[in-house]
């Protein structure tokens, strides 16, 4: 469950422009697509929901938690446990292998690590064979799948994906979307994708247009 109430945000360096975001209300396991042209504040909204930015007004509720009333440490904890972020550009810990990247994500979520879960996830994303390779040795597609794995490994309540398909061809786009949907189902979480990619539209019922 994720809900936002009259979110507003202003960047410090451009005080004049304030983003007004429509309220979002997703029920259990409901997925949503946030659409809109560039510069309208899609990534800002995502970061607000992930608690990386602090809104000027309004609030974000995930489950029964009011995200922006948490203290700094509580927020760190909460983010580690219940939010999975899939970034537009994959960032990884370069000096570690794929498997070690997954393990560190799991460890920081402070949930009990689960070897079965890790193995299944790697199998589903077809990463088992390369799990001991360093991140820079992976192909573009493998990296994309790794960032999905990093977003869902700890079974978060909300999966936030920022333009997960922007660099992919049609075939891989389909694959990634279906993987995300499947994972969201397994984790019993809300999947929120922000995109301007028209190809994704047909896969989701709920569209929020900024």
């Amino acid at each position: 469950m994720i809900r936002t109430t009259s979110l507003r945000f202003t960047y410090q360096n451009t005080k004049t422009h304030t983003f007004y975001f429509p309220d979002i209300d997703l029920s259990f396991e409901q997925n949503a697509l946030i659409l809109g042209p560039s510069g309208v504040g899609k990534t800002t909204l995502l970061h607000l929901m992930a608690g990386l930015l602090i809104p000027k007004k309004g609030n974000v509720f995930i489950g029964n938690t009011c995200v922006h009333q948490l203290t700094r440490n509580q927020l760190n904890n909460f983010r580690g446990k219940h939010i999975g972020i899939i970034l537009q550009r994959g960032y990884f810990i370069k000096s570690l292998t794929l498997l070690e990247n997954l393990k560190i994500r799991e460890k920081l979520s402070k949930k009990r690590t689960n070897q079965n879960r890790r193995r299944q996830l790697l199998e589903q994303l077809e990463l088992t064979e390369v799990s001991n390779k360093k991140v820079h040795e992976l192909s573009e597609g493998q990296r994309q799948r790794l960032s999905i794995a990093l977003g869902v490994i700890h079974k978060p309540k909300v999966i936030l994906a920022d333009e997960p398909t922007s660099n992919l061809d049609d075939k891989n786009c389909e694959k990634v979307i279906s993987l995300l949907k499947k994972e969201a189902q397994i984790c019993k979480s809300n999947l929120v994708i922000i995109t301007h990619d028209q190809r994704v539209k047909s896969h989701f019922d709920k569209h929020i247009i900024l």
């Binding site: 990534t43 970061h47 992930a50 930015l53 760190n76």
Partner: protein
């Protein structure tokens, strides 16, 4: 205190005690015996030298000399008769002579084959344990042997009437005031000179002091630069890896955990640096020591880590902490959202 012929007191000390310089000249035994009667003197050891074997100085002296340096026999026996000699540890090692073998001395303090005293060979009777002092580099015999080698020579050349000489006299006093009084009276009233080793060595070190100070200054400058480079390295780490650090924040890591990460990295770097530096330093000392013991008869001890180095480690760790705190200042302001959005 050392008593010898007039000349530079520094030279006297260097030659008679450290065996590094040429002697100032000889003094007659009569005068030595007269000085020896002084009641303030606790111990007087005559030393007489002027010959060498393969470049190692042969020192004629009394039995007290060996005891003075705390040297003990490793094998063989002490020299009791004329033309018996015991070898310092280093000499024995380098020359590879065995006990019982004989050798002939040559005139002067550096090796030459021309002026050998071949008529009067010495016999090696013992080898001393290494002491780390100058005695390791000496061949020690009794004082009569040195006289006899040269008497023979003098008879041939000058047919002079016999008068015995020693090169210098090493004195030990009952109290320091006695030393001062006697040195004053010797320097004033006799043709001899008295020199205090400690005073002369201090004077020598003062001459070299500028060099030492410069080296110390350079060392401190290097230390500061090292600290600065740790600091700059850390800042670079934080900058270059801000994406990774921001990523860890989205994973739920706290600012404190990131701080710990940066600090540990710096700590390991400086620890490795310290250990390597210590090790290389010791290797340098070993190399220098092996060179120096040949060239200057100077031996450096290789010691285990000492208190001063431990203090150094503390300073290094402290500098690391300081550097990592300064460097990670930017971690507190890490704008995760901005870093991740700037694709």
């Amino acid at each position: 205190m050392v008593i010898g012929a007039k000349g530079s007191p520094l030279q006297l000390v260097l030659s008679a005690i450290l065996h590094m310089d040429n002697p100032t000249g000889n003094i007659s035994l009569d005068e030595v015996l007269r000085i020896r009667k002084n009641p303030m003197i606790k111990e007087a050891i005559p030393v007489s030298y002027g010959d060498n074997y393969m470049g190692y100085r042969i020192l004629g002296t009394s039995d007290q000399y060996v005891g003075k340096y705390g040297a003990t026999l490793k094998e063989g026996k002490l020299n009791t008769k004329n033309f018996e000699a015991i070898f310092g540890a280093e000499v024995a090692k380098k020359l590879k002579l065995n006990i019982g073998s004989s050798f002939v001395s040559s005139h002067g303090l550096i090796q030459n084959e021309v002026e050998e005293h071949d008529e009067k060979p010495f016999i090696m009777t013992g080898v001393l344990r290494p002491t780390g002092t100058v005695i390791d580099h000496l061949i020690i015999t009794n004082i009569e042997s040195v006289w006899e080698v040269h008497e023979h020579e003098e008879e041939h050349i000058e047919h002079k009437e016999e008068h015995k000489e020693v090169t210098a006299l090493l004195l030990n006093f009952r109290n320091p005031i006695g030393a001062l009084q006697l040195s004053r009276s010797i320097n004033k009233d006799t043709s001899l000179q008295a020199a205090l080793p400690k005073f002369e060595i201090d004077r020598l070190l003062k001459f070299l002091g500028i060099g030492f100070r410069a080296i110390n200054g350079i060392a401190i400058a290097i230390l500061l630069v090292a600290g600065l480079s740790i600091f700059i390295g850390l800042i670079k780490t934080v900058r270059e890896r801000k994406h990774e650090l921001a990523l860890l924040r989205t994973y739920g890591a706290t600012t404190f955990q990131l701080l710990k990460l940066v600090f540990l990295e710096a700590f390991f770097l400086s620890l490795i640096g310290f250990v390597l530096g210590w090790f290389l330093g010791r290797v340098g000392i070993v190399l220098f020591s092996s060179l120096a013991s040949d060239a200057y008869k100077y031996h450096l001890e290789i010691s285990s880590p000492d208190m001063q180095e431990f203090l150094m480690l503390l300073i290094v760790v402290f500098m690391t902490i300081l550097a990592s705190i300064l460097a990670s200042y930017s971690l507190f302001k890490l704008n995760v959202s901005k870093i991740l959005a700037d694709a």
